[in-house]
């Protein structure tokens, strides 16, 4: 991402977080409430994503993506509903950062993050199913354990 864009995001970070947060919680607050531990962790994840954008730190951005996807995946959201938070981010960023080439780069990076988030969301859904299967397998294994002697 260009330094101009990164600088613009850094300078208006608080405003962007607040606008983005407002839009996201409007949509999700019947499941993820602001001001609760889960809401706080969600906001932390959002801030990591934005800071990753602003600093060009891909691993921070990915950590943020994992944090929000992990929370979204335990709630009964459709993937499209869950990931609409990145459409919100696009709207907010395009309203607050310069247009032109910067804007196009911004869109490209958000699209990339959205796809990462989709992968992470689905991985966490799969983790839940795996945990279910493993729990029953484990029980069976332990029941059979005593038979070996």
């Amino acid at each position: 991402m260009s330094t101009t864009l990164e600088k613009a995001i850094r300078e208006r970070r608080e405003e962007i977080v607040s606008l983005w947060r407002g839009k996201v919680f409007d949509r999700l607050s019947d499941k993820i409430s602001p001001g609760t531990p889960i809401g706080d962790a969600f906001v932390e994840g959002m801030a990591m994503i934005l800071d990753g954008f602003a600093s060009g730190d891909g691993s921070l951005r990915r950590e943020g993506v994992t944090t929000v996807a992990r929370i979204l995946a335990v709630h009964p959201f459709r993937p499209s509903h869950a990931l609409s938070m990145f459409v919100d981010l696009k709207t907010v960023l395009l309203e607050t950062v310069p247009g032109g080439e910067e804007g196009a780069e911004c869109v490209r990076r958000i699209d990339e993050t959205t796809l990462e988030a989709f992968d992470s969301f689905m991985e966490h859904r799969e983790t839940i199913y795996r945990l279910k299967v493993e729990e029953s397998q484990k029980r069976m294994h332990m029941q059979l354990r005593g038979k070996r002697s």
């Binding site: 409007d26 889960i38 029980r139 038979k147």
Partner: protein
Amino acid sequence: MSKYLPKQSELVKEFEEKPGVLKGDYAKSEWWETPLEFREGNFCFPAKPEVLEELGFPNPRKWAPTDDDWKLPDGWQKTVMDGMKERLKKYRSLKLYLDSCMRCGACADKCHYFLGTGDPKNMPVLRAELVRSVYRNDFPLVEKILKGFSGSRKLTPEVLKEWHMYFYQCTECRRCSVFCPLGIDTAEITIMVREILQLVGLNNNWTLAPVANCNRTGNHLGIEPHTFVQNIESLVDDIEDLTGVTVNPTFNRKGAEILFITPSGDVFGDPGVYTMMGYLLLFHHIGLDYTISTYASEGGNFGLFTSNDMMKKLNAKMYHEARRLGVKWILGGECGHMWRVVHQYMNTMNGPADFLEEPVSPVTGTKFTNAKATKMVHIAEFTADLIHNQKLRLDPRRNDHLRTTFHDSCNVARGMGMFEEPRYVLNKVCNSFHEMAENTIREQTFCCGSGSGINAEEYMEMRMKGGFPRADAVRRVKEKHKVDSLVTICAIDRATLPPLMRYWTPGVSVYGLHELVGNALVMEGEKKRTEDLREEPMAGFEDGDDDEE
């Protein structure tokens, strides 16, 4: 003021913009008329008809919460209302809790299920209101007294569905009661409502199948005596392979001094079995004269999550076996709800056990006066006393491969007030221990999210949500102190926390306290130890190193 309370500006914004209970979609409705949706992941499978038949419980049938028709029995309204009347008369606490709540809201944001799901009906005050609103409608005198408070409603199938959903999203953890100025214990309301729901066949298989098994064979898995013995003997073999020491537990031995009872999760569950290995090593180390019953082969009691009568029936085997075997007193293993039953109810429910003696440690001579009535001592207390009196040879460096924190199990912490003993033991058997945040431990501990008989696979999504506050506190202590081991003294926790950690806080494993005791014990005649009880390498004890004492 709690930091979790939403700010006023947020509440205003939420009220103005978000469709919700207080306006918009439900503007002309009461709060309880918000829609209810059963879907995969938010309910436990109901009990199988054969399980109900075996127990003689009402209304055995095939059904699912997603069905429109729950096949309630004829006259179900009368059954429920009579059930409620009977319990209001019998249990003064229920009446007191239903009548005295002043809707102050202090409990609202204290429930892990509310914090994890964001669903207002999981606020303890509203959870109780689900039943209070019916109670108010159907008991005219109460209605008269309470007039001026919020409304009342009729008992309908939808109300029962709501009870079924939300009283199985309460894990009976009692955290809310710590913050209530009147001490209202919503867990007690949940216990009663679940008992009433059983009267019309609304239940869960994950609770009732173990109840039926326990009723038949003495333990949750329905394991028969020879298999129970075989499993423990396989642990004896594992101990011998690892340490070179042969421990000799005895079964059903008449005349032993002590009867040892632990949850069957310690005998059959992973990682519970490593805790069992720890007990076996400890008892061998001190030469304890103890025996294990193959009938009282379960300390856990899912009767607590079913009905008072069932709890009493399942618990009776403890004293029966103690009497039959002629022991002096009972030692109990690491468990949560078992200790709530033992500590709070057993003496009056199944006792008095005047055929037993007031427990005295045969090693230190310490009198456990707090167990004078029940004649049953908690293993953490027993071990803490041994350590305090320097009766154990311990090498805490053998746990140097673990960086620990401690999860207070709800029932041991809030149900019996035990906070310090496990911490004392833990600090003596390992060198790295860090507490989680203060508002998440001791009496304020957060539930694992799966207690009270809802630890079903199919309920995983809800369990992950309910367990979030606990997992988040672990994440924070992990980030701060590189903690990788969550120690607990509850068999249900040992089953429920591993998936919770895997989902929210990968890289943290779950241990029983006595597993770490077993790692640290220096046994007479042992071979050089290089691995812990899980066969994981101990740091600094690798082959070739010789830095043991």
